[in-house]
């Protein structure tokens, strides 16, 4: 155990810090769930890619830097420290990218990864269906093999970023005779294909952050099948599970939020008469640091050839509930002002983006498997409690 950064790691941090200070847009970008904001965030992805900062853990031939996971954590810390824009292509770079690296053919990698890294192709995800939410193995959306093509029919829902994105990846039933988690395949579909209809769904904040996707005889080349036919479930569950678990929400995001919470508390705390706010602020700061320490522990284990442990199953619950506490506490500090949606620069200066973050925090315990499902998984697979 050596909790000190090496000279190389510190030099890397300096390099990241310098580049970000010269390149991060000075003005906050509009939400990427608006057309204008989506375009601005795509432009930012291009800027990152030009500096080879799009995905530092990827090999250099794909626009990465071949960094290890500790360097990735350092990059993320500097990224949030600099207040850089959210990653509009997170479905691609954090979820699909690692899967392509592990299961894609050389041709598939060459076709998809550079365009993902450059921001030219932004990805939506297509897991859930109207009757396959928590019970994802109930997927019915079909992809029937027809020669060199798949013909897709059915519906996906809650597809994040699908309104403005270029591509969707998801699980489709390629074996019509199959049931449950058998006979599913992972297929990549261009959203401008004939027969695709995207119907935006307004989220809690009124913006179309996700969508329904209808597939009506949509034809995609068999080249777009990722991994083997019928292997979809296994790939979705096992593939690069550690990276997904590790990378979906990096600790720096919450450490930066808890730092801003402490600053808000210093500013408004003297007006607050509720002593429970004090303990909530302390709890938030501790939890964000605990999440960081846990991630460093996991990253260190993986860097030294170990495998991931029980902590991966626990992280979704921990960060999503921490995010709620951070934002609830900020709302309590703002008091009656908390409900105001800031419109002007002056209002943003006073109220920040806490309300927006508070609304988004409501989704954390729901998406990527509800926390109720996560607790079942922990009880059954980590603790070994009876399934029935």
């Amino acid at each position: 155990m050596e909790l000190m950064y090496t000279g190389e790691q510190q030099a890397f941090r300096s390099e990241v810090r310098t580049w970000l200070s010269e390149n991060v847009p000075p003005e906050r970008l509009p939400s990427f769930d608006t057309a204008e904001g989506f375009a601005a965030h795509r432009e930012w992805e291009r800027t990152l890619a030009e500096g080879n900062w799009g995905m530092v853990t990827w090999p250099t031939e794909y626009g990465g830097r071949g960094c290890d996971l500790i360097e990735w954590l350092i990059f993320e810390e500097e990224y949030y420290r600099a207040g850089a824009p959210l990653r509009v292509n997170q479905n691609g770079i954090f979820l699909l990218g690692p899967t392509l690296m592990e299961y894609g053919t050389a041709e598939q990698k060459a076709r998809f990864i550079p365009a993902m890294a450059s921001g030219d192709e932004i990805w939506a995800q297509g897991w859930s269906e109207p009757n396959a939410g928590s019970d994802m193995a109930a997927i019915r959306c079909r992809a029937d093999r027809d020669g060199d093509e798949f013909v897709i029919n059915g519906q996906k829902i809650w597809s994040t970023r699908a309104v403005y994105a270029d591509w969707v990846f998801g699980l489709f039933r390629t074996d019509p005779e199959s049931s449950r988690h058998h006979g599913l395949s992972k297929i990549l579909v261009p959203l401008n294909s004939e027969g695709v209809t995207v119907r935006p769904i307004q989220q809690l904040n009124g913006l179309p952050g996700f969508a329904e996707i209808f597939f009506d005889d949509v034809r995609v080349p068999a080249f777009n099948l990722l991994g083997g036919e019928g292997e979809g479930w296994r790939i979705a569950m096992a593939t690069a599970g550690f990276e997904r678990g590790l990378m979906l929400r990096s600790p720096a995001r919450f450490q930066q939020a808890s730092k801003r919470l402490v600053q808000l508390y210093r500013e408004y705390g003297s007006d607050v008469i509720d002593p429970s706010i004090e303990s909530a602020v302390v709890q938030c700061y501790m939890d964000a640091e605990a999440y960081a320490l846990s991630t460093y522990q996991t990253a260190s284990k993986l860097c030294s050839g170990g495998s991931i442990g029980a902590e991966a199953s626990c992280n979704k619950i921990f960060w999503s509930e921490m995010d709620l506490l951070i934002h609830e506490t900020a709302m309590n500090l703002l008091g009656a002002r908390a409900e105001i949606e800031p419109q002007t620069a002056a209002e943003f200066a006073e109220l920040g983006t806490w309300l927006d973050g508070f609304m988004f925090a409501q989704s954390g315990p729901i998406y990527a498997g509800t926390n109720e499902i996560q607790r079942n998984i922990i009880a059954e697979r980590v603790l070994g409690m009876p399934r029935k």
Binding site: Y5, Y265, N376, I378
Partner: protein, 363 residues
Amino acid sequence: MNFTFTQDQLDFQEAIATMLKSEVTADSIRARWSADGGVDDAFLKQAHDLGLNSMLVPEALGGLGLQAADFILLAEACGEVALPEPLVESVMTTTPLLVDILDQGLGNSDVQRVIDGVLAGESRVAVGHSINPYINYADCADWFVLPDGNSLYLMPREAVTLDEKKSVDPSRRLFAVSFTPDNQYRVADGDAGANLQRATLNRGALATAAQLVGLSKGMIAQSVQYTSDREQFGKAIGANQAVKHLLADVAVQIEYAKPVTYRAAYTVGVSPTRADFAVSHAKSASARTALMASRHCIQVHGAMGYTWECDVQIWAKRAWALAREWGDEGFHNNRIHEWLLRKNALLGPEFTFGRGSLTDVAQ
């Protein structure tokens, strides 16, 4: 940057954990409750023969020269079996204090003698601190390190007075210890004494935190077993989501209390007087975890959980006690609160490991 334990550390932990699980059982703990001294001398001899007493003593003094991070997994393992004897406190708190006194050129000839006695497995020492009103197993100690203001006194057993208190935990043997400060026994005073007490508080809280993590693991294991065996409505009660989620909540807290405790152990090894934040975080997180564990694990045992017969009480009552020893959650949260309010506090994602880890980074 490497936040892992070495294979040697993991192997040693496994060996000690195996020994603990065979030697320290619920039955043997209950046997201690009615035994005279309440101490299993054979167990303490075995622990001594394995080198535990000398692990954190520098090689120059005849020890193994290891750090708190080398012992932290063993401390956790002691908590997991609810070991009654104050072995962890002795190794992680009391002995390092004696070593510090000697290292700083303080104290008297007794200090060296007592350390030699500890290394030989012949002396038992207990430590007092203003944060703790009572000392556990004081009646088994030959020597005491006791504070009076900033000063510390190394008192022989015959020069102190013990007043027994009954703990809710039958495994604990608490005593109020009183003494008359006498210059012949004084081993530190002034700033040096204050710093030694500060380091002792951090070491004591760390030793307790690791045991609380272990106690939580022990309670979960029993509860998983019980809820898998006990049937109602024709199926194991543990198949119900309401029961699963109570235990899953504890499992999540344990996973996040562990790295916090290990970071605190590392930090104490680097500098015990500069580890306030890391230690308070560890004590707060582990106390919160263990109190949740005791509450949820009693609950999933149903009426059995409210009986003397059910072994969960051994772990739960220890958790109730240790959660408040060496500073309760309020004390430690308050230390962090004060730190967060400092104008020069290093906040933000780049400071997880402090400024010292960023010496070469361009600002």
